[in-house]
């Protein structure tokens, strides 16, 4: 596989169909790198001509902004917009709902206007168009999968159906947690909590969510966010179920089953 950067495309005078915005977690976090690789594999297999920014990508500024540091956010955002506009980027796909939210909702008023799409929606479109086909007798067939709505895809952007439609394509049995869709319980990472200790309390938010997810009896917890991934993995460990319950990103599930 040859993953090309925007700079490489530009140098050869070509334009990719879409920019894959990897995000910091997807770039640096070892677990999230697997999600990135799974998604890139799918794009390659389906024949989507995509590019990454590579070393030219920076944090969108989301955690700084939500922690209250608007200066850092503005610096990141304006630099990113300059890079994106420099390459005349039109369409962006990302596997991180925080990047998705910032690029889609917060960059336009700073001069960055792009069609931004989350990878679960993109996968759903590829499935609908028949570009992604699943293996016969897939290994998730009939197995219980529960889906965790990330706050930044769900409540923040009202995307509840696309990820579920992708999971339906696996022929698995989708079981919902008690708190799902717009009632979904946060994993505990948003609002820059990922980067600090939780405040004092009776328990951790990801333990609470992990307990709820494990209680569904699902063998797989499907997530759509690298931060939820970290939180839920720890939540499952706390329940002592790391051997029987897997936390997998929707892209990883599809990458395993794509024909």
């Amino acid at each position: 596989m040859q993953i090309k950067t925007m700079a490489e495309y530009a140098a050869s005078g070509e334009t990719p169909e879409i920019l894959f915005w990897v995000g910091c977690a997807g770039s640096f976090d070892q677990r999230a790198q697997k999600i990135t690789k799974a998604f890139a594999t799918i794009l390659d297999k389906v024949g989507v001509r995509f590019a990454i920014l590579g070393k030219e990508e920076s944090c969108t500024g989301d955690p700084a902004r939500r922690a209250g540091n608007e200066f850092i956010f503005q610096m990141m955002a304006q630099n990113n917009i300059a890079v994106l506009n420099g390459y005349e980027v039109k369409k962006i796909v990302t596997a991180c709902p925080h990047c998705f939210n910032t690029l889609r909702n917060e960059y336009p008023e700073l001069g960055g206007h792009y069609e931004v799409i989350h990878h679960t929606t993109f996968l759903q479109q590829l499935i609908d168009e028949g570009k992604i086909r699943m293996k016969e007798g897939g290994s998730f067939k009939g197995r219980k999968i529960t889906y965790h709505d990330s706050c930044y895809l769900g409540r923040a952007n009202n995307i509840y159906e696309a990820p579920r439609k992708v999971l339906e394509a696996l022929d698995a049995e989708l079981v919902e947690m008690k708190r799902c869709r717009s009632n979904g319980l946060c994993c505990g990472a948003g609002g820059a909590q990922m980067f600090k200790e939780e405040e004092k309390g009776a328990t951790r938010i990801n333990f609470e969510r992990g307990r709820e997810a494990v209680a569904t009896g699902a063998a797989v917890i499907a997530s759509n966010c690298p931060f939820c991934m970290t939180m839920l993995t720890d939540g499952v460990k706390e329940q002592g179920k790391e051997d029987s319950v897997q936390v997998l990103d929707i892209a990883e599930l599809i990458a395993q089953q794509i024909a």
Binding site: M1, G61, N101, E106, C186, G201
Partner: protein
């Protein structure tokens, strides 16, 4: 005798309306302490929100049983106001059941409907009292409700029950007097709910019945006028403010944070210094984020006055569920309390108070603010379109940008982003390492 009653009524009514409008003006001034924001775009969508969220109480139906009971109480209270119109006119004109001769047989049907609603209000309020005080539903018994807020809720429910009982007793004795052939009590026919109870009263003398009927009439209307004046001091103000609050609700995706144009411009000048000479400079040093009520927007303050302290936000808050100090409901209650305190001070001295207090710290602590995951569950749940998250994020902006007050880990995250373009201490050169690995 009649003329004295009319006079007394007009005086009572006048005082009630005067006091209410004075307090309403005060609240309006308090709300306008907030900074200005433009929330007038897309009127079509806004009116739709008023219809669905305020009139239709759409979000209440996330819990259908409670929603139906609440709808009875709400519809009952709104529709019975038509009857209040007749009562007020009767009071002013010294008439009795003014509309009856005009409406004929329809009158009994109309009053019948009101009576059914009154009975439903009564049942609804009784169940709500049980939920609060006997079943002790968790969100209705959390510690931020200790003291006045808990009593406030009970006073409202008890008052509504009393008003409905007075209305129904008045109607029952009225019918008893009709059966006695009392000349002043025009024949309306039996009413739906109270009709069967009339026989309990027919044994009483005309004098006693008239006394009961008049007492109920007076207590009912005086009770309503008193209740009207209780509203602005109570969480019950939501019955009025839910409507404007739905209209002015933010229409953008919930994930979008408010931009800070002053910071945007400053960073722009830093990155493109060549723009600096062409930009007119403005001497004001902008304030970043919010420390006190006047730094918030007027919509934040309208939110605070619209809050009925139901606690759906807090019950959905992941921080609160897991025992953290944060409660979105408390954020709203604190904001209102602080706005009231500032408003009272301005009314007294004509200027902003110098009581050394601020919303941040004296009301809302850093620990509460730092527990928020910005998950938007509180915003999603609120039936009257309140956004506690907006207040939390503005207070956080003040902490970080005006006071450099952040947990050490956040400061490291900031410096990592600034220096390494990522929140972790990773080399920017490794950002595409995964791709290099895949490219082989």
């Amino acid at each position: 005798m009649h003329i004295i009653q009319e006079l007394l009524f007009v005086i009572a009514f006048g005082i009630a309306v005067y006091l209410f409008s004075r307090k309403a003006r005060q609240i309006r001034q308090n709300i306008l302490l907030g900074r200005d924001v433009q929330l007038n775009d897309e009127p079509g969508q806004r009116w739709q929100n008023v219809l669905l969220l305020a009139f239709g109480q759409k979000k209440m139906f996330r819990n259908p049983l409670v929603a139906v009971l609440h709808f009875f109480v709400y519809a009952g209270f709104v529709i019975i106001n038509i009857e209040i119109l007749e009562i007020i006119l009767d009071g002013i004109l010294g008439t009795h059941r003014l509309f009856s001769p005009f409406l004929g047989g329809l009158y009994a049907v109309l009053i019948g409907c009101f009576e059914v609603l009154a009975a439903l209000v009564l049942i609804g309020c009784a169940i709500f009292l049980v939920r609060r005080n006997i079943v002790k539903v968790k969100r209705l018994n959390q510690h931020e409700l200790d003291g006045w807020p808990r009593s406030d809720a009970n006073y409202i429910l008890i008052t509504e029950i009393m008003l409905m009982l007075l209305f129904l007793t008045m109607n029952t004795t009225d019918q008893a007097l009709q059966l006695h052939g009392h000349e002043h009590y025009l024949n309306t026919g039996a009413f739906w709910v109270t009709g069967p109870f009339v026989s309990l009263f027919t044994g009483l003398s005309d004098g006693t019945l008239v006394a009961i009927e008049r007492t109920c009439w007076w207590l009912h209307i005086l009770g309503i006028l008193a209740f009207l004046n209780y509203l602005p001091y109570s969480k019950h103000l939501h019955i009025i403010l839910a409507f404007p609050n739905a209209y002015y609700a933010d229409l953008r995706p919930k994930g979008k944070m408010e931009n800070m144009p002053a910071v945007q411009k400053e960073v722009q000048l830093m990155l493109q210094p060549e723009l600096a000479s062409t930009e007119p400079t403005n001497g004001d040093i902008p304030k970043f984020g919010a420390k006190d009520v006047p730094d918030l927007t007027w919509k934040n303050l309208l939110d605070a006055y619209s809050c009925t302290e139901c606690g759906r936000c807090t019950a959905a808050c992941p921080a609160n569920i897991t025992g953290k100090k944060l409660s979105p409901r408390k954020i709203m209650m604190d904001t209102r309390d602080r706005a009231e305190a500032i408003g009272a001070q301005i009314a007294k001295t004509g200027s902003l108070p110098e009581d050394g207090k601020t919303l941040l710290r004296d009301y809302i602590t850093e620990e509460e603010l730092r527990a928020c995951t910005s998950c938007n569950a509180c915003v999603q749940e609120c039936p009257v379109s309140i956004n506690p998250l907006h207040i939390i994020l503005q207070l956080r902006r003040h902490l970080v940008m005006e006071e450099s007050s952040a947990p050490q880990e956040w400061n490291m995250m900031f410096s990592n982003i600034e220096n390494n373009m990522a929140p972790w201490k990773m080399s920017p050169d490794d950002r595409d390492k995964w791709a290099v690995e895949m490219n082989g």
